[in-house]
């Protein structure tokens, strides 16, 4: 029958308390270095480091944030990055959800190779890809185009997203679609109306990952976008950097601002990180 209720409640309370403690500790660990970046953004005179541990530095000011928008084309970079990220996220979600579904539900020639191939695309060290990639981009006239960037980012993010969606679909029994078909849906409707909502958590991950790829990627963007009007945020941030003598104040302020959309996106998508509909109703 189990333990008496009182013991269960005490144990439950202890568990919850311990959980909060754990979450608190890890939150502090996660937060501390990030707070230092906020400090950098508030500190005058481009100081990356500090000899004191205080979070609000002496002579703190928001001058860097102001300068970011008035002296640098930060708005432009934000706009460009938002555009690229949204396109990549949308294509990522659309393509990963369908490709993953195909890999999960259908068996076809080359399926295993295809899956392995997705992995293979990630294994090559990026450094050596730069020269041939540039040659290829030149040949395809993709230099200085957003099309080029979107293609490259999708190619970078898709393998993980497809595989991940497939994995998630695998946990959803095929019997659900069969039940839907019996009730009159065709395959596509079954996919769209039944399976996809159940796979919402995986879609969240796909969306977030695609967004992050497009939002933070630097190397490919530096190769493709040579027109400063087309710069995305990572390129803009890099322009504050110098081998010696980076503009840390601006870099810090920009980093803080750049982080916010990611957190906001994650929080708003977290709504869909909820348990799928129960499967118990399907079992005989």
């Amino acid at each position: 029958m189990g333990e008496p209720r009182r013991t269960r409640n005490v144990r439950s309370a202890l568990r919850v308390l311990a959980s909060y403690a754990v979450l608190g500790i890890f939150s502090l660990i996660a937060l501390f270095p990030v707070l230092q970046i906020v400090t950098i953004s508030l500190r005058p005179a481009d100081r990356l480091l500090s000899t004191s541990l205080e979070v609000i530095p002496k002579n703190a000011s928001l001058a860097n944030y102001l300068a970011l928008f008035t002296e640098r084309p930060f708005f432009l970079w934000l706009a460009n990055s938002t555009f690229v990220a949204l396109v990549v996220t949308t294509t990522g979600v659309v393509l990963a959800s369908t490709c993953g579904y195909a890999f999960s539900r259908f068996s076809f020639a080359g399926k295993k190779i295809g899956l392995l191939g997705l992995l293979v695309t990630q294994m090559f060290p990026a450094t050596m890809l730069l020269l041939p990639m540039y040659i290829m981009l030149v040949m395809l006239h993709l230099i200085n185009t957003y099309m080029g960037i979107v293609i490259m980012y999708s190619a970078t993010a898709l393998p993980f997203c497809i595989w991940q969606m497939k994995g998630y679909y695998d946990t959803i029994p095929a019997s659900l679609e069969e039940a839907g078909r019996i009730d009159g849906c065709n395959q596509f409707q079954a996919f769209f109306r039944i399976i996809l909502p159940l796979a919402a958590p995986a879609l969240v991950i796909t969306a977030l990952f695609s967004f992050m790829t497009a939002w933070t990627e630097y190397v490919v963007a530096a190769q493709i976008l040579q027109d400063t009007d087309m710069w995305t945020l990572p390129l803009g941030l890099k322009s504050f950097e110098s081998n010696m003598g980076s503009e840390w104040g601006l870099y810090g302020a920009a980093s803080v601002i750049v982080t916010i959309p990611v957190v906001v996106l994650f929080l708003s998508l977290s709504r869909w990180l909820v348990s799928g509909l129960t499967l118990g109703s399907v079992k005989g």
Partner: protein
């Protein structure tokens, strides 16, 4: 037993046609819009576009933008664009682009770029373009010749290290290493309430480039007359020992200092002196410090001045530049190298000009910072242009840091540096 059916709303059984059609069209719409917007991002037009890639910090970029603006006003129908890339990326980015047949028309950077660029044949020889009469109006150091050809013409001389000191803590800069140590000892104090330990001197001493001044002070140099590494010398050993002693015997430098740590110590007033280059002066003034710039001291035991590497920063022309653009590109370079523009840059940036008339002007002669900068340049040596320089830096680093870590003697380190440099050069040139 019939399955209860998936728990979806009854309405979903008869899906609305509109939403499905939209769902089908969505991917196509996306691709179309991406193409469209990507197409919009293409620049069409009859204007001639000239691109310059450089690694200039922000204040130089601002001045460059002004000068480019005036050039464009003088030449309607020409658009000049500048693109900043960090030094290492500038080099590798230019190489990749040029090898692919593209790249900017002009690449502007320190002279050591010329070595690899020439070997890969991606920049044009310039002696046929800029005649010797024109070149004569500039400091000879500004003209970078390599393997018998002129490859870069520079409008600024610099990249040299200087002794920057906080006037509040160090009223009079040291003239010799012994004075420097004395001042350092006076200033060094352990951590107190509210601040970290204070040191007399802080600088990025673990980096070979920042070690060079003491190497020259003890009479050494990284290459011999034929461009071969010459690291296994008495001078190297003495210089290595000297720096180690600064930390362990005289204790005037911090235990661990990279570029950022040294920078912050100086900015916070926790270091009285720092060894840093011309790029850093403005930043220290902006931090509210009353700084002075002095030449690096003389090593008393050898009587030699600590000389640093001096590098011109100049223009090279991409070998891929088209004939039609070439004339304009050359004009642009001439314009940016001109006396008025160099005067403007010097006034606003305190960089050392290469035009002899600007060098001899009132402003340059009377400005204390520029005067001391000039003295330091005179004590220095030109940075070698050969691509082998990379190999030498790479070879120096591990042994140098091993000496500081106490795992190698200075003699062993000098020997190992030389061996490794030779090995790396061989690997690079196979």
């Amino acid at each position: 037993m019939t399955p209860a059916g998936p728990p979806v709303s009854p309405g979903a059984q008869a899906p609305r046609p509109g939403s499905l059609a939209l769902a089908r069209l969505l991917p196509a719409l996306l691709v179309a819009s991406a193409l469209l917007l990507a197409g919009c991002a293409h620049r069409a037009g009859e204007t001639v576009r000239i691109t310059i890639w450089h690694q200039d910090r922000i204040d130089i970029r601002v001045v460059l933008e002004k000068q480019i603006g005036r050039f464009m006003a003088l030449h309607p129908g020409v658009k000049v664009e500048q693109l900043f890339k960090e030094t290492e990326e500038l080099r590798s980015g230019f190489i990749i682009a040029a090898l692919a047949g593209q790249g900017p028309d002009i690449v502007y950077g320190p002279s050591d770029q010329v070595g690899p660029f020439e070997t890969m044949q991606i920049i044009l020889p310039l002696e046929g373009i800029f005649d010797s009469a024109w070149c004569a109006s500039y400091d000879p150091l500004a003209m970078t010749w390599y393997k018998g050809h002129l490859y870069q013409v520079a409008d600024k001389l610099g990249n040299h290290l200087t002794l920057v000191y906080n006037r509040k803590l160090v009223p009079v800069p040291p003239a010799t290493d012994e004075e420097m140590i004395t001042i350092g000892k006076r200033l060094t104090a352990p951590a107190g309430a509210g601040n970290g330990a204070r040191y007399g001197l802080a600088w990025n001493y673990t980096e070979p480039f920042f070690f060079i001044p003491f190497l020259t002070g003890f009479g050494g140099w990284i290459m011999d007359g034929e461009g071969r590494p010459s690291l296994d010398t008495r001078a190297t050993v003495d210089a290595l020992r000297f720096i180690k002693d600064l930390r362990d015997v005289h204790r005037i430098i911090p235990n661990e200092a990279d570029y950022e740590i040294a920078d912050i110590l100086f900015k916070d007033g926790n270091a009285g002196m720092i060894i840093n280059g011309d790029w850093s002066w403005a930043g220290y003034r902006n931090a509210g410090l009353d700084i002075g710039v002095a030449p690096l001291p003389k090593i008393a035991s050898t009587g030699l001045w600590c000389g640093t590497m001096v590098s011109p920063k100049g223009f090279s022309i991409n070998a891929n530049v088209t004939e039609e653009k070439k004339k304009l590109v050359i004009e642009l370079i001439r314009y940016l190298m001109s006396e008025e523009n160099q005067m403007e840059s010097t006034r606003e940036l305190y960089t050392m000009p290469t035009h002899m008339r600007v060098r001899g002007s009132e402003f340059v002669r009377n400005n204390e910072i520029l005067r001391n900068s000039q003295i330091q340049i005179d004590h220095g040596r030109a940075m070698p242009v050969s691509p082998d320089l990379r190999a030498i830096w790479d070879a120096m680093r591990p042994s140098y840091q091993a000496v500081l870590a106490g795992t190698k003697t200075a003699e062993q380190a000098a020997h190992d540096m030389q061996e490794l440099a030779l090995q790396r050069i061989a690997e690079m040139n196979e």
